[in-house]
């Protein structure tokens, strides 16, 4: 198992911070899009793209790569930002073109337009089925020893969809050890808090009863994310699910824990803390200075 050393953690946290800044810049430029989910998942994406995933940004069609399926396509700003920072395309393209006419960075991911995407997604609930299908095909070709892994990232609100549980049944039945589901457990969805909209708890027990190996972690702790993925890879008798507890809007005080930031970009969010015209600038300032811990040389 690859342990993270202190310098690894520091580097990954700075990379996550870069991803968050790019997310904010993209959303401000686009003038629409989702804020809470992408900011909340930046740490997990940093660890995946800069550590866990076997991939080659310069050769996105590499046969031996791991597959990352983003089921909740609306959080694609974090996917695009992570891809840009790891070298699939320029950070500048990400900043300038999200959701624009003719852009490769469609409002929800479109595999056909952007090399490096494994699937097109947006309508919720179908990603896990696709990951399971990929792993089934892989097992037919390479047998149970296949060391390609199939990561499926899902939102927690998305678990309302019946299709997720159809896929969970099949994954459990087929004991697909190389499927690693990661649920962004941020407790919000568009209409409010998940436990008010449609209660999911006890979530861990639900997945376990479907035959999955389940871990619950702090989704902002690099060590915890890394250990959970390593453990998932070591389990051979069942598919794995990681319930990653995250803070929606993580990294910017005024966007954290607010479901109102689910589907709004900085500049169009709730105004009780920061007025609209200052939301982008204040969010970027907070991230660039790590919430004031890095003092501006001009002050």
């Amino acid at each position: 198992m690859e342990h993270l050393y202190d310098e690894d953690i520091k580097r990954l946290e700075l990379q996550a911070n870069d991803i968050r800044q790019t997310i904010v810049e993209m959303l401000v430029e686009a003038g629409s899009g989702h804020t809470a989910g992408p900011l909340g998942m930046a740490d997990i994406f940093a660890l995946l793209y800069f550590r866990a995933l076997r991939h080659d940004p310069k050769n996105p069609g590499w046969e031996d790569r791991d597959r990352l399926i983003l089921s909740n396509g609306h959080i694609c700003p974090v996917l695009y930002a992570a891809m840009a920072h790891s070298g699939y395309f320029s950070v500048d393209e990400a900043r300038r073109t999200l959701r624009k006419f003719g852009s490769r960075l469609q409002g929800h991911p479109h595999r056909e337009w952007l090399p490096g995407l494994e699937t097109s997604s947006g309508p919720l609930g179908s990603g896990l089925s696709q990951a399971v299908g990929m792993a089934l095909a892989d097992r037919m070709d390479r047998g149970p020893q296949s060391n390609r892994f199939y990561y499926c990232l899902m939102g927690d609100g998305e678990l309302n969809c019946g299709q997720i549980w159809e896929a969970a049944l099949l994954g459990g039945k087929e004991k697909l050890h190389n499927v690693i589901g990661i649920v962004d457990r941020n407790n919000i969805q568009i209409d409010g808090f998940t436990e008010d909209i449609m209660p999911l708890e006890p979530l861990k027990a639900k997945w376990e009863s479907f035959g999955w190996h389940v871990q619950e972690i702090d989704g902002h702790n690099m060590d915890a994310i890394n250990d959970a993925i390593n453990e998932a890879k070591a389990i051979f008798s069942a598919p794995s699910l990681i319930i990653a507890h995250t803070i929606p809007g993580k990294g910017v005080d005024f966007t954290e824990r607010r479901f109102e930031w689910h589907g709004n970009p900085p500049g169009k969010g709730p105004t009780d803390v920061v007025p609209k015209e200052k939301q982008g600038e204040e969010a970027l300032n907070a991230l660039r200075t790590l919430h004031g811990m890095i003092k501006s040389e001009h002050k």
């Binding site: 056909e112 089925s129 399971v132 095909a137 299709q163 896929a167 049944l169």
Partner: protein, 329 residues
């Protein structure tokens, strides 16, 4: 366009019959033998969709999904993304009925090479009643960009269509019926995706006064109607439009130009089906009088195939009457 060679017994009372879906089962087995990447998924209807032949021969390439059609479409998408050629089957009411959005997004929008096979389509599934009679599926599938829509007219053609779909790269919908249907075509009858076939035509030099275009299980009734018209002295051409999309525009345009009067015949809602495909095309190329044989904006009900075809106006007599109407309008 010359008439296609047909089963010599096609106009006899004792013509051989077989369910159209049977040809799918045989075709899938052969496709599996020819290409190790062909895989099959089924939602708890393995024998009635005729996938058991494939399953018995290639159990390691068969996925039993249980009753989860939505997941089945997306699992097939994932397998196709890894280079497989998945065929997934259920009753047409459930696939592509229940999982339309998964087919649209994870297969067609996503541009993967998966094949949707809907069995027991049309009202001829009979006694099961309206819940199980898929008469909207052609419309659902033909509206999705990239989707090819095929409705074989008999079991022999269904086998050829299945083999052709396996070789074609891209999403395909194949529509099958449950009941035994007369065998119209022969092993020698040519088949190609996107090509209509002329099943009946007047003698050389005689101009047809009406054109009948049929798809799927009603091709036999359409052919019988054309034969009756011919015996009454009406020069008629009958096209078998196995591929609803992409449309064989040349064949349809030529028929419209020759006859100026078209009857479309399908076991489907009149709205949105093959007849609509024809009308949409002719409206912008050569506006032509058209009669639509199909279900008129209603749901089906229990009954025998004949009872239902008579009740909803899809019998041979209904087609003959429609042809006479459209000729004299």
């Amino acid at each position: 366009m010359t008439p296609t060679p047909l089963n010599p017994k096609i106009f006899d009372k004792d013509v051989e019959q077989a369910p159209i879906r049977k040809g799918y089962g045989e075709g899938l087995l052969q496709a599996g033998e020819e290409d190790h990447n062909v895989v099959a998924l089924c939602a708890d209807l393995t024998e009635s969709t005729q996938m058991h032949l494939f399953k018995n021969k290639f159990p390691e390439r068969f996925v039993e999904m249980g009753i989860s059609e939505q997941s089945m479409a997306s699992v097939a998408s994932g397998m196709a993304a890894m280079g497989k050629v998945p065929f997934f089957s259920s009753y047409a009411m459930f696939s592509p009925g229940r999982n339309w959005e998964q087919i649209r997004t994870t297969i067609c929008y996503n541009d993967v090479n998966a094949k949707v096979v809907g069995s027991h389509a049309g009202i001829s599934v009979g006694p099961d009643g309206g819940t199980h009679q898929a008469i909207e599926d052609i419309g659902l599938m033909r509206m999705i960009p990239r989707m090819t829509v095929i409705a074989p007219c008999d079991s022999v053609e269904a086998k050829k269509a299945t083999l052709a779909a396996a070789k074609y790269v891209g999403p395909v919908y194949i529509r099958l019926a449950r009941e035994a249907t007369p065998i119209i075509t022969t092993e020698e009858t040519p088949f190609a995706i996107g090509k209509a076939q002329l099943f009946l035509a007047p003698q050389d030099g005689v101009q047809a006064k009406v054109g009948i275009i049929a798809t799927g299980s009603l091709a036999y009734n359409a052919l019988m109607a054309a034969k009756q018209l011919e015996s009454e002295g009406v020069p008629v051409k009958m096209l078998n439009l196995t591929t609803v999309k992409p449309l064989d525009e040349d064949a349809v345009l030529a028929l419209a130009a020759e006859t100026g009067a078209i009857v479309t015949v399908e076991e489907h809602q009149r709205k949105g089906g093959m007849g609509s495909e024809i009308a949409e095309y002719l409206a912008r190329t050569r506006p032509t009088k058209q009669e639509f044989i199909g279900v008129d904006d209603q749901f089906g009900q229990s009954g025998t195939t004949d009872e239902l075809l008579n009740h909803y106006g899809m019998s041979v007599a209904d087609i003959v009457a429609a042809a006479k109407r459209v000729m004299t309008q």
